[in-house]
């Protein structure tokens, strides 16, 4: 898997290589290496793991997480954090379940749009009121969770006719879950838009050094609001995936995805301090995190110890993937 750096012309790999130390080059591929090692370990532990069936199941499980992590990665690249994604996704599942009967096929774009708007509002609050994104989205998380409880009546909202979202539960060619394919598409789309427009350098500059970006005339505020907006839209899309799978919406349905999503971002090697990283890395990170979740029971780890191992592995993974030369302050 490549970790594209914006606008690096294909003709010049020699220069790029000569300036990076071998160790640093290796850390760049660490998420990928971790993924391969994990698959290999799981296959050794359970030869049945590397079958089409379990891979299909794993990728289907990973899809909403990939989308959530991809959106939030943009916020992290800008130097912020979005803690509201899971709560926003939960709320979106409720809204989608409520609106499907009336809006039908339109419900999906409307929910994504609503989630994007909520994301943008948080971005505006962060930029205009100069509140740290950590605080804004922590508050947002709480507010959105409560709203989800209120509008759902604190219970699961069943979807009777799921035809408008059923397409997400299909399988491409019988093997590839549509949701996983769409998740991949989202990641590719974000990566592509960043790559072919000035956005990549705006986002990186904002994340690495906001004051330098501002003094270079970069539209820092708009970039940040945009990042929150995309993060919100991704939360909305993840919600659509969840609803298509579970035939219902629930006020806490996606809540347990917050930590895995943040873990996916950092395990992928995106610097939590901003600037350095990519959505491709978060894709690799999300796959690692998913494999850990489905894999630990396969290896026979008792569920009580699962969380311990899971937490420890994430910390170790970050220690391995964090490119110390790119991040001067660890906070």
């Amino acid at each position: 898997m490549s970790t594209p750096v914006a606008m690096k012309p294909a003709a010049e790999p020699a220069t790029a290589k000569s300036t990076a130390r071998p160790a640093a080059r290796l850390t760049g591929f660490m998420p990928l290496i971790a993924l391969v090692v994990l698959v290999a370990a799981l296959t050794v532990a359970d030869p049945d793991f590397l079958t089409q069936r379990s891979l299909t199941a794993a990728s289907r499980t990973a899809a909403p997480l990939i989308v959530l992590a991809a959106g939030a990665t943009l916020v992290v690249l800008c130097g912020g954090i979005d803690l509201s994604i899971a709560a926003l996704a939960s709320l979106s599942t409720v809204l989608l379940a409520l609106w499907l009967p009336d809006l039908g096929g339109l419900a999906t774009p409307v929910v994504i749009l609503a989630a994007a708007t909520i994301g943008a509002v948080q971005g505006v609050a962060h930029v205009l009121l100069r509140i740290p994104s950590f605080i804004v989205t922590l508050g947002g998380m709480s507010v959105l969770s409560a709203v989800a409880l209120v509008v759902s009546g604190a219970g699961t909202v069943r979807v009777v006719d799921d035809t408008p979202v059923a397409w997400l539960d299909l399988y491409l060619g019988g093997y590839v879950p549509m949701s996983a394919a769409m998740a991949l598409l989202v990641v590719a789309l974000i990566a592509l838009v960043l790559k072919v427009t000035p956005l990549q350098s705006w986002v990186s500059a904002t994340g690495y050094s906001e004051s330098a970006a501002r003094l270079a005339g970069t539209p820092v505020d708009l970039v940040k609001i945009g990042a929150f907006c995309v993060s919100g839209a991704c939360a909305g899309f993840a919600a659509v995936m969840l609803v298509s799978r579970q035939f219902s919406g629930g006020p806490t349905m996606a809540d347990n995805l917050l930590l895995p999503a943040v873990a996916a971002i950092v395990v992928g090697g995106t610097a939590i301090t901003g600037g350095h990283g990519s959505v491709w890395r978060s894709l690799a990170g999300a796959l690692v995190v998913t494999l850990l979740r489905v894999g630990l029971p396969i290896v026979g780890v008792p569920s009580a110890y699962e969380q311990i191992l899971y937490g420890a592995i994430i910390v170790v993974a970050v220690a391995l993937t964090l490119d110390g030369s790119k991040v001067s302050i660890i906070k």
Binding site: V5, A6, M7, K8, P9, E12, T15, A16, S18, T19, K195, V196, T197, P198, S201, W202, S204, A205, Y208, S209, S211, A212, A213, R214, L215, A216, G217, T218, P219, G275, H276, K326
Partner: protein, 505 residues
């Protein structure tokens, strides 16, 4: 003669592309005030940092009272009796003076993890008595005047005396740059008093001060010791000649390339601009003209510069570019009006270190590398390579992270950022040669002349008075947030630094 309090032999320190220290020798005798003079980039601050353990030299030795030492941290340096009063004050504002004085060396002031306020107060008072200061040790630091805070800082440094059991070496880095003239007198009295029980290294840009307060002055140039002067009977001019060396006399500032300016319609016209730290600024800059603004720290000139770039709020006044009124509400608005800004803090504000030369160069004028909304890699490569060649930027390639280049080449990329769009009309340069070696500076000066020749108006906040005089066609002197006076500065009729200093204080 007794053993020197501090001796440095053959100290060498390399930074990428720059030899900051190139075999420096220095002797500080006991109970003497040694001045350290040198232009910016001469290696003064690197030398001082090496003496307090903030920089590890690549080669050379440091001897304290004849014993060779290795200083790996400020604490180790303090253990050997070397302490520094930092240029930027290092006190914690919401603590009392006493807490600040004992901070980091609490000793008897802390027992079982708890502050013993009486002891602390007594310890702090001892230090303050030493320098004869009447500051209340229990006053909050942020309620003290700037000069008082400096006294607290000196008292704090003197705490190291108790640790090393020897007369300390106190380093004062530009202590006068933020003080009023009366406060400077008090400080000088303190320094003379310090001599009784300590050795002092004194650094200042103002040569008259150095000659006034020091016994001896050591001069650095280009990272080397070039000599020393006994201050008795010495004059600033002699010292200055040593600082700039013989090469300083030829056309360092490319004055021959200066262009004649017509001031019929100014390119930039500022009337009554006011903000938090400046008031009623009037300023005209013609196309092709270089206007220098000089003033001491706190004169407000940096803020005026930032305000003209939309990076600092203003409360009144109007700004016109080529006669057209512009609203500088954001840096983007300034960029759109053809204004460029090179900040003084290159590493944190001027450039994005981990990003490539190409990305840094095209960060502002994205249009120059795009076709429609999309980045055109070929267009970008051609554009960036052209400017790399034109400004002779030494870099392995356009994709190298800018942080890996030397300071001079970094600055050229930062300057190029404003040139790639081809629509630059006014350049605001805040200390554009800070931290650059002589060769790199000369190239920046040449570039400034070339830009002026194409009609770019320039506002220059120079690194030194000499630089302002050498480069500017006109100089505004700012004091306390206002324009005090304007000095014509034409080729052949340049004012002397002393003329300007008189207006600055």
């Amino acid at each position: 003669m007794s053993v020197p309090a501090l001796e440095v032999r053959g100290l060498v320190k390399h930074y990428p592309g720059v030899k900051a220290l190139d075999g420096v020798d220095l002797v500080v005798r006991q109970h003497e005030v040694l001045g350290l003079a040198g232009e910016n980039g001469a290696g003064k601050s690197t030398l001082l940092k090496a003496l307090v353990g903030l920089v590890t030299p690549d080669a050379g030795e440091i001897y304290v009272r004849g014993e060779p030492v290795r200083l790996r941290s400020v604490v180790e340096a303090a253990g050997h009796g070397i302490g520094m009063v930092f240029q930027e004050q290092s006190l914690v504002p919401n603590l009392t003076a006493a807490e600040n004085i004992v901070l980091g060396s609490e000793g008897a002031a802390v027992r079982r993890g708890l502050y013993r306020w009486d002891t602390m107060r007594r310890l702090a008072q001892e230090q303050l008595d030493k320098i004869g200061s009447h500051i209340d040790p229990l006053a909050r630091t942020d309620s003290l005047s700037f000069a008082d805070r400096q006294m607290v800082e000196i008292a704090k440094v003197l705490r190291i005396e108790q640790r090393s059991q020897h007369p300390p070496v106190v380093i004062l880095d530009e202590p006068t740059s933020v003080l009023e003239s009366k406060e400077i007198e008090t400080l000088f009295a303190q320094i003379r008093r310090l001599r009784e029980f300590a050795s002092v290294i004194f650094v200042s840009h103002r040569l008259d001060e150095v000659l006034d307060v020091c016994d001896r002055v050591a001069v650095l140039r280009g990272g080397q010791s070039v000599g020393e002067v006994t201050t008795e009977g010495a004059v600033p001019r002699e010292l200055h000649r040593m600082m700039i060396g013989s090469t300083g006399s030829d056309d360092h500032y490319h004055e021959n390339a200066a262009v004649a300016v017509s001031s019929e319609q100014p390119r930039l016209s500022v009337r009554g601009l006011s903000g938090a730290t400046f008031k009623d600024i009037d300023l005209d800059v013609a196309a092709g003209e270089i206007v220098g603004i000089v003033g001491v720290h706190g004169s407000g000139r940096e803020d005026v510069c930032r305000a003209l770039f939309g990076a600092e709020p203003t409360t009144a006044g109007e700004v016109r570019m080529d006669g057209k009124r512009i609203d500088l509400t954001s840096t983007r608005a300034a960029c759109a009006a053809g204004i460029g800004y090179v900040p003084a803090e290159r590493k944190t504000e001027g450039m994005v270190g981990p990003m490539s030369v190409a990305d840094n160069m095209t960060l502002t004028k994205q249009k120059a590398r795009c076709t429609g909304p999309f980045v055109a890699p070929g267009k970008q490569a051609g554009l960036v390579d052209r400017w790399i060649e034109r400004l002779s930027i030494r870099t392995p390639g356009r994709d190298t992270a800018i942080g890996r280049l030397s300071g001079g080449n970094q600055q050229k990329v930062v300057l190029a950022r404003w040139l790639v769009g081809g629509d630059i009309r006014l350049l605001l340069l805040d200390h554009p040669t800070r931290g650059l070696d002589i060769g790199a500076r000369s190239e920046v000066y040449r570039l400034m002349r070339e830009l002026a020749a194409t009609g770019v108006a320039t506002v220059l906040l120079a690194d030194s008075l000499e630089e302002a005089i050498g480069m500017a066609d006109r100089i505004l002197v700012m004091t306390d947030g206002r324009v005090a006076t304007e000095v014509a500065c034409p080729n052949g009729g340049k004012p002397s630094p002393l003329d300007l200093v008189k207006e600055m204080v």
